[in-house]
């Protein structure tokens, strides 16, 4: 620990001026302001020295807690490596460099203000701009005056450490596709508007007043305006339809493309040959509405990433030991056999053997279990573990991509192309039959009329194709699913895309991970066995655990409740082992059995975690800490078990089976001691027997299972934190609403079906006129937008009404802090 903070005595709640954290116990005073730790104070001092205290005026206590920050100088040394720099920066010339950092800490207006005033702290920075939603900051700096490393250091110093990881070094993915859709939409909208303008006189026979010259002019202008619609805005439909036909199948885009072509060519025929007005305004409107629907469906959650692999989580540099000298090298240059040094809170990047006598490894990102595991000399530490405590040296056994855990990504489940199986969606299944029926009716009409009048037959044929163009059909799906996705997003359930909803509706088997998913890291069951604790000894225990940030200490702290802690002396924390202190004449220590030399040395982790209490050399008792399920789970699982097949996959031993059976009910089939690969294999087996599996997991060890399942949901307690690749991300606090979400996905499917019904009714009416050859531009101009708009209104109102009825709209918004 650093210098002992000055303690202030007070009764009212004192919160840190910088981060707002409660700092009752040890507030540091400065400028009549309280700070919870020296870290927060340092940030304040830096800002104060540079007249940047407006930071605190914009929002109250805007900072982030600096307690756990490491202050090691050579941490960013890898940023001096030319290779690393070149991959990180976006642009560079002789004078300037541009770089974009992802800073998860950005959460309020003050953050934006401070980061955009970065030039006041570092004169070499010429420009900095924050994207609040994406939590990114773009910085331009003068290469001569400052370096990437010093900027990162500065950011880290003021509490905004950028997240730089291995995947940042890879290729940048662009979001160009989304922009193209907007351009297409803009063009369609522009042309549609102007075409309506020129077509309107036709509907009211105004052209006769204006004279025939105008009528022709208007028609030709319409053709010119229709060209960009057909040859630019509609290109995606043609492409998709062509691909489908080449694969000998029919998707939704086939009838759309057919409709566009017949509308366009028949209009050209009418204008040039018959001298009539054509249906070009209808064509423009159709494309415009279709693209609006497509755009609406493309809602994405920018801050969330649904395809992170282990690379997004591993550091990009590691300290390598070369003959007792430290050198920071990029992880990509790490070889088997290297000796590496891993410090407190750092990640072990590759499967390695421990060379130090002991280590304490936290595998929380891997398994979800946040209580560190002790490791002895010579034992293997898997990649993905985080060292807690003193620095350790390790001998690398496998390259970072070949480890026990990372090997998962070499599995075929990850190599198979993310083939968007949109063919499976309901709309596409229907469209096959739809197209067939339409063609049948069209040819029927052609044949029937051809006996008397060939030209009437052709007109009936094209009319059918024009009028049945499935605009309403094609719009019901995107609008319904887009709406459902927004409603889910409000409730803390974020989907990768709208196809997930249709898959969710077809799920019949649910698989849960245990640790971190069903059980909450912060909700532990603590029980005490041993001598009765007096008030005084309870106070001592409370005071002692207050000093530690170890998860077990936190659990005991919560268990001890509102006991007033005493003031202890000589507090010492031995990382990974325990705590000791003295109070008056007594000595008190808490820790593992091994550390205190008490209890059974039999160290099979079968009974969960134990913390022993020794006061004055006497063994008083033991705290047993076992995980406990999240709130609402004990209700949710039995309820789900009524309609779904439920499985539980856990990497742990089965010591908690009885408790889980009791909480989750007997209908859950449980599988323990599952390695990441056996989880994947388990899901595979179930999928192969024709089950539709939904996997709910959280750690990296579930990554394979999440990928292999039909729908993988990653549960996370902080949505801006790490979560493995998945189809959806669910806020941990909302897990108990899962049945509601599954239910609502099914409701969504029903709404789509109902709107299909609505659209078929319109089509039937249209076909009734079309087969008789009675379709006129006016009828088209009325029927087509009317059907589209009414379908859109119907789906929007129906989804929101259903969400309201099920109470999904009331669930409070998740704040981004």
């Amino acid at each position: 620990m650093e210098e002992m903070p000055t303690k202030t005595e007070k009764s009212k709640i004192v919160s840190c001026f910088h981060c707002g954290e409660n700092c009752d116990d040890e507030a540091i005073m400065c400028d009549e302001k309280n700070f919870c730790c020296t870290g927060c104070l340092t940030v304040y001092e830096v800002l104060n020295d540079n007249n940047l205290c407006d930071y605190y005026a914009i929002e109250a206590s805007p900072g982030s807690n600096q307690k756990k920050k490491e202050i090691r100088d050579n941490r960013f040394d890898y940023l001096e490596d030319e290779d690393v720099i070149n991959r990180l920066i976006d642009f560079k010339d002789d004078e300037q460099s541009h770089v974009t950092f992802s800073i998860p800490m950005i959460h309020c207006a003050s953050c934006i203000w401070l980061l955009e005033n970065l030039y006041k702290l570092e004169p070499g920075v010429t420009f900095s701009r924050v994207d609040f939603i994406k939590k990114k900051v773009q910085i331009k700096y003068l290469s001569k005056e400052t370096s990437l490393k010093s900027i990162v250091k500065l950011l880290s110093h003021i509490g905004y450490e950028p997240r730089i990881n291995l995947s940042d070094l890879g290729e940048e993915k662009s979001h160009k596709t989304n922009k193209k859709l907007i351009y297409q939409l803009a063009v369609a909208g522009f042309c549609f508007g102007n075409m309506m303008f020129f077509s309107l006189p036709e509907y009211f026979s105004e052209t006769e007043l204006l004279g025939n010259g105008f009528s022709h002019l208007f028609n030709y202008l319409n053709i010119i305006l229709a060209l960009p619609v057909v040859f630019y805005s509609a290109t995606d439909y043609f492409r998709s339809a062509w691909i489908a036909i080449r694969n000998r199948s029919v998707n939704m885009d086939v009838p759309i493309a057919l409709g566009i072509i017949s509308l366009f060519s028949y209009s050209l025929f009418e204008i040039f040959i018959s001298g009539q007005e054509g249906y070009l305004d209808t064509l423009g409107g159709l494309l415009f509405f279709l693209l609006v629907g497509k755009y609406y469906q493309q809602k994405t959650f920018d801050t969330l990433s649904f395809d992170r692999d282990y690379k997004a989580y591993f550091p990009i540099a590691i300290t390598k030991m070369i003959k007792d000298r430290e050198q920071v090298i990029p992880l990509t240059k790490l070889n088997v056999g290297d000796i590496i040094k891993v410090r407190n809170e750092e990640l072990v990047p590759a499967d390695s053997i421990l060379l130090e006598s002991e280590a304490s490894i936290d595998y929380s990102f891997v398994t979800g279990e946040e209580i560190p595991i002790p490791v002895k000399k010579g034992e293997l530490i898997y990649a993905g573990g985080r060292q807690k405590g003193a620095a350790i040296t390790l001998a690398v056994q496998k390259s970072p991509s070949q480890g026990y855990l990372t090997d998962l990504w070499n599995n075929e489940a990850f190599s198979k192309d993310e083939q968007e199986d949109s063919l499976a969606s309901m709309a596409n299944r229907i469209s096959g039959k739809f197209t067939f029926t339409v063609l049948l009716i069209a040819f029927g009409a052609l044949l029937y009329w051809s006996f008397n009048d060939i030209s009437l037959g052709v007109r009936a044929f094209t009319s059918v194709l024009i009028i049945t163009c499935p605009c309403a059909l094609a719009m019901s799906t995107p609008f319904t699913l887009g709406n459902v996705m927004r409603i889910f997003g409000k409730g803390g359930f974020y989907l990768k895309n709208t196809q997930v909803i249709e898959k969710l509706a077809g799920i019949n088997t649910l698989v849960f991970d245990k640790t971190g998913t069903l059980t909450a890291p912060s909700k532990a069951r603590v029980s005490y066995h041993g001598e009765n604790l007096t008030e005084e000894s309870k106070s001592m225990v409370k005071a002692l655990v207050n000093f530690s940030v170890h998860p077990l200490s936190n659990s005991i702290n919560q268990w001890s409740g509102n006991v007033k802690p005493v003031t202890l002396d000589n507090v010492e924390e031995i990382p990974g082992k325990g705590l000791q202190a003295s109070y008056k004449s007594k000595s008190i220590s808490l820790g593992s059995a091994l550390f205190l030399g008490v209890g059974s040395i039999d160290k099979v982790n079968n009974i969960g975690n134990e913390v022993h209490l020794v006061i004055d050399g006497m063994h008083w008792g033991v705290f047993r800490i076992a995980s406990s399920v999240r709130e609402g789970i004990e209700k949710m699982v039995p309820e789900l078990a009524k309609s779904y097949d439920i499985h539980l996959l856990s990497g742990d031993h089965n010591h908690e089976e009885d408790y889980l059976k009791q909480v989750l009910g007997e209908n859950v089939s449980m599988h323990f001691q599952q390695s990441p690969k056996s989880k994947l294999a388990h899901i595979r087996r179930m999928e192969n027997t024709g089950k539709h599996v939904l996997m709910v997991g959280d750690g990296l060890n579930d990554a394979g299972a999440l990928k292999a399942s039909e729908v993988g949901i990653a549960v996370t307690d902080n949505i801006s934190h790490f979560s493995p690749a998945s189809d959806a991300i669910l806020d941990g606090k909302k897990l108990s609403y899962l049945p509601d979400y599954l239910d609502f996905a099914k409701t969504g499917r029903k709404i789509i079906k109902a709107s299909f019904g609505l659209s078929f009714t319109y089509n039937a009416v249209g076909v009734f006129f079309a087969v008789q050859g009675l379709v006129s531009p006016v009828l088209c101009a009325i029927l087509m937008p009317a059907s589209s708009i009414s379908v859109v209104l119907f789906t929007t109102i129906a989804t929101n009404f259903q969400a309201y009825r099920k109470g999904l709209n009331d669930k409070e918004m998740i704040l981004w802090k």
Binding site: M29, N48, A57, I112, D131, I133, F197, L221
Partner: protein
């Protein structure tokens, strides 16, 4: 009535101009971030902070 030919020309040019401006704005990144500028605009008023001149010292 021939004036309508001129008016149609003008209206098309104007509408096309707006479309072009929209494209330009899109390319220039004006629509990339729709949230931060709304916050940023509030910063321009200088908030007077009281602690401006004090130097930090630790109180014992």
């Amino acid at each position: 009535m021939e004036v309508i030919f001129v008016l149609i020309g003008i209206s098309l040019v104007m509408a096309g101009g707006f479309l072009w401006l929209f494209f330009k704005a899109m390319k220039g990144g004006q629509f990339d971030d729709q949230h931060t500028p709304a916050i940023r605009i509030l910063f321009d008023q200088k908030t007077k902070s009281k602690a401006n001149k004090k130097t930090p010292k630790k109180k014992k």
